[in-house]
């Protein structure tokens, strides 16, 4: 809908499970549409459960279109791996990459939709954090 071709904020989903990361990317992509760069970084390098800083770093590089990247992580050690990954990417990409403490699924969905709406990095990060309060009407 945007009248410009300005780059959108990208999203990286870092999970201990490749299936979780891929599933979250699939869901968020359905909601946000194809314009946003949504990259899954799940599992250890041998495909087992775990995290790999190199894999996350690669994902951050792919997600960065120039407007920055939000990284969502599932558990604490995925956050640690994401922090390590920041030392492995281009400095200008690292400078515009934010780790989010938001919930993995809800945060990725909300962040992806706001990114697709053309919001800037700070707004997308804020939305991902606020997704912890996503209304679900469970009654």
């Amino acid at each position: 809908m945007s009248d410009t071709a300005e780059p959108l904020v990208g999203i990286v989903v870092a999970s201990h499970s490749a299936k979780i990361a891929e599933g979250v990317v699939e869901l968020a992509g359905q909601m946000a549409g194809p314009e946003v760069r949504l990259i899954a970084a799940g599992g250890a390098i041998d495909g087992s459960l775990g995290t790999d800083a190199g894999r996350i770093a690669e994902a951050i590089g792919q997600a960065d279109a120039g407007a920055g990247v939000v990284v969502l992580a599932d558990l604490g050690s995925a956050v640690m791996a994401a922090k390590l990954a920041l030392d492995m990417v281009e400095p200008q990409t690292a400078a515009r990459t934010k780790l989010s403490g938001g919930p993995l699924v809800e945060g990725a969905v909300v962040a992806a939709v706001q990114a697709s709406a053309g919001d800037d990095l700070a707004t997308v990060v804020e939305a991902a954090e606020e997704a912890a309060n996503m209304p679900k009407d469970v009654g």
Partner: protein, 94 residues
């Protein structure tokens, strides 16, 4: 200010993809765009925020008021009307 009052026909209301499509449409305009759920009597919420729109709790059959204020308010409301008529990108019953 331009205003549209619309009944939402989507089965799941304004949730999931219809909500995302609505937010993206609203965000495509410079005007300030808000949405109120008249059926529930909610306060105006930022139509460019998915969480704010979800917070309106719009279900099938609810009446919403979308307001736009700014340089492209007419186009914004026109786009929202067209989107609603098209079922917010979803097939709608009847």
């Amino acid at each position: 200010m331009q205003v549209a009052e619309l009944e939402v026909h989507n089965k799941s209301g304004l949730h999931a993809r219809p909500a995302a499509t609505f937010v993206k449409t609203a965000a495509g305009f410079r005007s300030k765009v808000t949405i109120e759920n008249l059926t529930r009597g909610t306060n105006p919420a930022n139509a460019k925020s998915l969480l704010a729109v979800l917070g309106c709790g719009v279900e099938q059959g609810h009446l919403v008021r979308v307001s736009a204020e700014g340089e492209d308010e007419e186009a914004a409301i026109g786009a929202v009307r067209a989107l609603a008529e098209g079922g917010f990108g979803e097939a709608v019953p009847g």
